[in-house]
């Protein structure tokens, strides 16, 4: 907090915020400064932002249709100026397919996070705070889900519900909440006997209020970090299901399914499987870097006591 700094920064870092908004913004700014000090995390953030932008503007970016190819003239062309990533066996432009596939990837990742993280958070915090038989029941259920191999359980669900991207999402969400529940429970156990929770109990707060308003915010940052780090795994599982033909169905340009269809030509036309593979790699890497950066920036045990 040097005196030469801009007034806006001083306002954000003020010791004596004048309003709720200023206190919140100041806190967010401190977190952002910690995050942006980490170069790799910014690279990760850049990749994810780029992914989101590509998904939003896919129609504008993609030069060709992702589903209709030119079977007569453009089968299995190598990367060139007209087809940046080459074309596949049906004459479709791979670059356009990857651009449109980003929507599917983002759809899967966001939906899984939106379904799995709240379930895990709720189960974990309730189990941790309530203790006793509620804890035992909830955690045994969690253990049962944890004991199944993730991909196999997802396979079983997709087999039961029928192939398709929505079912793949549900299958992945069902199998990915248990680790979040365990994290949330562990965090809850460390704070449930603290004096500040006792103080809230002493004010007459109901258990639901304590869990929702006082315990969950404390579990949130470690959960966000974990979810971000899991994003890569979710993308890979979705790609795996697509590869096995149980996720997105043709002609949807899902990256895993694209690899699956390209593996027949992998020795002669490497770009058919290679390009979507690189896309998965880059996006997974982006989420991992972002997750690492968030862990350093949000860690409740660093910075503040």
């Amino acid at each position: 907090m040097s005196t030469t700094a801009q007034t806006r920064r001083e306002w954000l870092l003020s010791d004596r915020p004048q309003s709720r908004l200023q206190a919140k913004l100041g806190r967010a700014y401190v977190t952002w400064r910690r995050f942006s000090g980490n170069g790799l995390a910014l690279v990760g953030l850049g990749i994810i932002v780029a992914l989101v932008l590509v998904a939003i503007f896919a129609d504008l970016i993609a030069p060709y249709s992702p589903t209709i190819g030119d079977l007569k003239n453009a089968r299995l062309l190598p990367p060139s100026a007209t087809h940046w990533f080459g074309t596949d066996d049906l004459g479709r432009d791979i670059f356009s397919r990857i651009v449109h596939g980003s929507r599917l990837t983002l759809f899967v990742v966001i939906l899984v996070a939106v379904i799995a993280a709240p379930i895990g958070l709720l189960v974990g915090t309730v189990a941790g705070y309530a203790g006793g038989w509620i804890d035992a029941v909830l955690m045994r259920v969690t253990d049962i889900f944890l004991a199944f191999p993730k991909l196999i359980l997802a396979l079983a669900f997709v087999a039961a519900l029928g192939p398709g991207i929505e079912n793949a999402v549900i299958a992945i969400a069902i199998t990915s909440w248990p680790p979040y529940a365990r994290i949330a429970r562990a965090e809850t156990l460390t704070v449930r006997n603290s004096d500040y929770i006792a103080a809230v109990r002493l004010m007459g707060a109901s258990p639901m209020r304590i869990v929702l308003r006082h315990i969950m915010p404390l579990c949130l940052s470690s959960l966000i970090v974990r979810v971000t780090l899991d994003m890569a795994g979710i993308i890979l599982t979705a790609a795996g299901l697509g590869f096995l033909g149980l996720g997105a169905q043709p002609p949807l340009p899902e990256w895993g399914a694209m690899i699956a269809s390209g593996r027949r030509f992998i020795l002669d036309q490497w770009w058919v499987a290679g390009m979507p593979g690189i896309a998965i790699l880059v996006v997974s890497l982006g989420f991992n870097l972002l997750g690492d950066g968030l862990r350093d920036a949000l860690d409740p045990r660093s910075g503040e006591q």
Partner: protein
């Protein structure tokens, strides 16, 4: 006259270990009552049992003539509040002072929360400049003031104080103790205060109970404690233990060392 707080044969058991063994006491409205004893004597557990934070296995607790059940209701929470020992652990690390003070008002559906928060901060001498700070932006003494403001904002009649100054350094201790004494006088509160510092207890409390191993040793008034008129052996040893520090320093060292010793003893 009904007692503000009456406890009869209170027992607390944690995992088959009897932390409190049938403690009884009676506190009149407006009285300031002290609990002293060594670490592990069950003083803090007694407070937590009253607050409903410890498992009661035997006995009854009566507040203003009403015997409490195993669950505390909202009326109880408006009547009885507590200040914890460690101000670094009793404030939620992710909530601003404003949010901390708003919570009890929201739970009990108080109107004009805005006004009450400002008043509560003024009362503990913090002013509204501290309102939107996070606990990590406050010093230990300021945190304890916030904790006191939070306890007082529901306008309770009984305040449970669990060594409210033992985590603070000596100069801040005096400020917080004066603040507590002042709010007690202006609001005619009933205090039940735990401390292992006999000087604080004799200063603030009218009567006190000496505890050892989860049971009462004896009940005294502050004057007889100050004069050393105790009947039980254990109390005598407790007194000697807190005074002994100064006496050993006296013969060899000068007045500076003596003063230092007494200050050190106060900040146990």
């Amino acid at each position: 006259m009904t007692a503000a707080l009456a406890i009869d044969g209170l027992g607390v058991v944690y995992d088959h270990y009897h932390v409190l063994k049938g403690v009884s006491l009676r506190i009149e409205p407006g009285e300031s009552y002290g609990l002293v004893g060594e670490s592990g004597s069950g003083k803090s557990t007694l407070l937590r049992a009253i607050a409903g934070l410890a498992p009661v296995s035997a006995g009854t607790i009566t507040v203003d003539g009403e015997t409490l059940g195993p669950r505390r209701d909202k009326a109880f929470h408006r009547k009885v509040q507590m200040v914890f020992q460690d101000p670094y652990g009793s404030l939620h690390p992710r909530q601003t002072v404003d949010r901390l003070l708003l919570e009890p008002l929201a739970i009990h559906g108080f109107a004009n929360a805005e006004e009450r928060i400002v008043r509560a901060l003024d009362e503990v001498g913090l002013g509204s400049g501290f309102r939107f700070r996070y606990p990590h932006q406050l010093s230990g003494g300021q945190r304890q003031r916030v904790a006191i403001a939070r306890a007082l904002i529901l306008e309770p009649s009984i305040l449970l104080l669990d060594e409210p100054t033992s985590a603070l350094d000596a100069s801040v201790q005096a400020e917080v103790l004066n603040l507590l004494e002042e709010v007690r006088r202006t609001r005619s509160l009933t205090f039940l205060m735990v401390s292992h510092d006999l000087a604080i207890i004799t200063h603030l409390c009218g009567r006190l109970m000496v505890m050892h191993n989860g049971a009462e040793v004896e009940t005294l008034d502050a004057a007889s404690l100050a004069a050393g008129h105790v009947t039980q052996d254990y109390s005598r040893r407790l007194l000697a233990a807190s005074a002994g520090f100064v006496r050993t320093a006296e013969p060899a060292a000068g007045p500076t060392a003596g003063r230092f010793a007494s200050a050190g003893q106060r900040s146990i």
